[in-house]
């Protein structure tokens, strides 16, 4: 499979955006309470223009207050995790890492879980998630450097697994002390990865860390490729390696923290989507990042829509991404090894 010519990337990105817009409209129409595409379009147009849509009040409510926040939340989480994954992969010169594999998601989940337990406000949940994520990434880098080893790819992945399971133990502790009637089911369901609690307020709150994380990455996108070179090469090319690394780690962790605080730990997206984007668009981060954001949003939206409509009970999207992500990752791995061989 050959990647598209750089000159045609604009077209590919535009097609991906159109696909995402179509999926968003479809997702607003699909559900227990059926709504037509025309009604969706009318309700949204009226909301944007600020006049009455002329539809029944409950139709407007389903579209604007129930489904729209959830659609936005799913797109936001998919985009944030995929963008963070793409950044982590370049940063660690390692196509096998992602927020979940590095243990960052687990770190964020422990921070957020502790905040939920203490019944803190949403900004504090996000801040503690960010702190936990940073702690996890710092541990992974420190342990990985200290252990060393011949295969840095493998060392980093294994260290991530170890740190992730350490934070997993912390999460188990949080569950143990949680009130088993109210807090425990809420924490458990949220940790499985779910958008069911995403209302307008939650979606808006999640936008803040995601934007603060992703916008600097987008601004720095022409610098990140050189960062993925061996360190000597990057430094000899005039790159301020250490400040840039710290900036990329902070941004990617913040984007992850925002999405974990909103929807729990959703695995695999941050690993598989940047891979797919790289196969389509080539390795340049200036193309991988925007395509990852759009594809990640589309993927998460499809998964969540299927999870909330196709089964008698609502399936947590985190479970579904694992079911889809595992074989997809194996296929991508085989494909990319065959390409580089």
């Amino acid at each position: 499979m050959a990647s598209v010519h750089p000159a045609r990337f604009g077209l590919v990105l535009a097609l991906a955006c159109a696909l995402l817009a179509g999926l968003a409209l479809a997702s607003l129409a699909i559900g227990r309470f059926p709504v037509g595409f025309g009604e969706v379009a009318r309700s949204l147009a009226a909301a944007m223009a600020g006049h009455a849509s002329g539809l029944a009040a409950n139709v407007d409510a389903v579209i604007r207050e129930v489904r729209a926040p959830r659609v936005l939340a799913a797109m936001l989480v998919g985009a944030a995790l995929s963008g963070a994954g793409a950044a982590f992969q370049s940063l660690f010169k390692n196509p096998l890492v992602s927020p979940d594999i590095l243990g960052v998601s687990a770190g964020c989940a422990l921070g957020a879980g502790a905040a939920v337990l203490l019944a803190l406000p949403i900004a504090a949940v996000q801040a503690l998630a960010f702190g936990g994520g940073l702690l996890a990434v710092a541990l992974v880098v420190a342990i990985g450097t200290w252990v060393g080893g011949r295969d840095p790819l493998l060392t980093l992945v294994l260290t991530g697994v170890v740190v992730g399971s350490l934070f997993g133990a912390g999460i188990a502790l949080v569950k143990l002390v949680a009130d088993p009637y109210n807090e425990l089911p809420a924490i458990t369901f949220w940790l499985l990865g779910s958008f069911s609690s995403a209302g307008p307020r939650e979606a808006a709150a999640a936008l803040v860390p995601a934007a603060i994380g992703i916008v600097p990455l987008a601004l720095l996108r022409w610098r990140v490729d050189a960062l993925s070179l061996p360190e000597d090469e990057a430094r000899s090319l005039g790159l301020a390696v250490t400040p840039l690394r710290i900036a990329v780690i902070a941004c990617a962790t913040l984007a992850t923290a925002g999405s974990v605080a909103l929807a729990g730990t959703i695995g695999w997206v941050g690993l598989v989507i940047p891979h797919a984007a790289r196969l389509i668009a080539g390795a340049a981060f200036a193309r991988v990042l925007p395509l990852s954001l759009v594809l990640g949003a589309a993927f998460m939206l499809v998964v969540d829509t299927v999870c909330r409509t196709a089964f008698p009970i609502e399936v947590p999207p985190g479970v579904a991404t694992a079911l889809i992500g595992t074989p997809a990752f194996i296929a991508l791995l085989a494909l990319s090894f065959r390409r580089s061989a």
Binding site: L220, P230, E233, R235, S236, L237, G238, A283
Partner: protein, 263 residues
């Protein structure tokens, strides 16, 4: 336009690799670094590039210590041609060469028309323009090495430091790299390269620096230093320097290992 060392002791983490080194490398000359395996050629190159700090003494560029140069200004003057790594992301050859322009633009700037033009010029000079769109994993080891040299050209640096640029290359590509080094000199650049082939030094170097077991063994013009005694001492094996007739007119000197016994 001089890259120089003064009483340089180099190495890393307290482990001294070489001491008391005095070298000066001027524009328009080629300096060859010779030494057996583990003699510290790469460490010396990395120190000259400012990638590892000197343990004592200093490395200066235009009389100013490297540590006082801003990172980007230094990168516009000193270019590095490393041995090709295995673990690059799958950039195209053009994207790889274009990274040589990193120091020429700000942190948020995209590559401009001039950056792309310099990258294309560099590819043309090395005769690999046809590979521009090819993924870096899909070209041969020799072509990848040529791409890294092209990246160094794209930086427009005055000094180009190459770590065994001819390693892993077949005979023809080795000759191509040596020709390109001669062309860089003709264009006014200073080139430092390390090699395991003393013949490469005889072929194009103006001066030779021989390092061995933690120090400078000999340094001087190629004609002065490249003799049988020095080379035998450097590699710990008897080496003869012989003259061979050549189609280029004057006889050329070549190195051959010898049995050590007089014929």
């Amino acid at each position: 336009m001089t890259l120089a060392t003064r009483d340089l002791t180099y190495g890393f983490r307290e482990r001294i690799v070489g001491r008391a080194m005095q070298v000066a490398i001027d524009a328009g000359e080629v300096v060859c670094l010779l030494g057996p395996n583990g003699s510290g050629k790469t460490t010396l190159l990395r120190t000259l590039l400012g990638l590892v700090p000197p343990l004592a003494g200093e490395v200066t560029l235009d009389g100013r210590p490297l540590s006082q140069w801003p990172v980007r200004a230094r990168a516009m003057r000193l270019a590095y041609v490393p041995q090709a790594a295995e673990s690059y992301f799958d950039f195209s050859v053009l994207e790889m060469v274009e990274m040589g322009r990193t120091a020429h633009r700000g942190a948020f700037a995209r590559p401009g028309a001039r950056d792309l033009e310099r990258a294309h010029v560099a590819l043309e000079r090395l005769g690999i323009e046809a590979l521009a769109a090819r993924p870096i994993h899909r070209v041969s080891g020799g072509e990848r090495q040529l791409a890294l040299i092209a990246r160094a050209l794209a930086t427009e640096a005055t000094h180009i430091l190459m770590d065994e640029p001819a390693a892993n290359l077949d005979f023809g590509n080795q000759a191509r790299v040596l020709e390109e080094i001669a062309r860089l000199r003709a264009a006014g650049a200073a080139v430092v390269f390390s090699t395991h082939h003393p013949d490469h030094a005889l072929r194009i170097a103006d001066r030779v620096v021989m390092i061995r077991a933690g120090g400078l063994m000999a340094a001087g013009t190629t004609a002065d230093v490249m003799n049988s005694e020095n080379l035998s001492a450097l590699y710990g094996r008897p080496v003869e320097v012989a003259l061979v007739a050549s189609g280029e007119g004057t006889p050329r000197r070549v190195c051959v290992p010898s049995s050590g016994r007089p014929a």
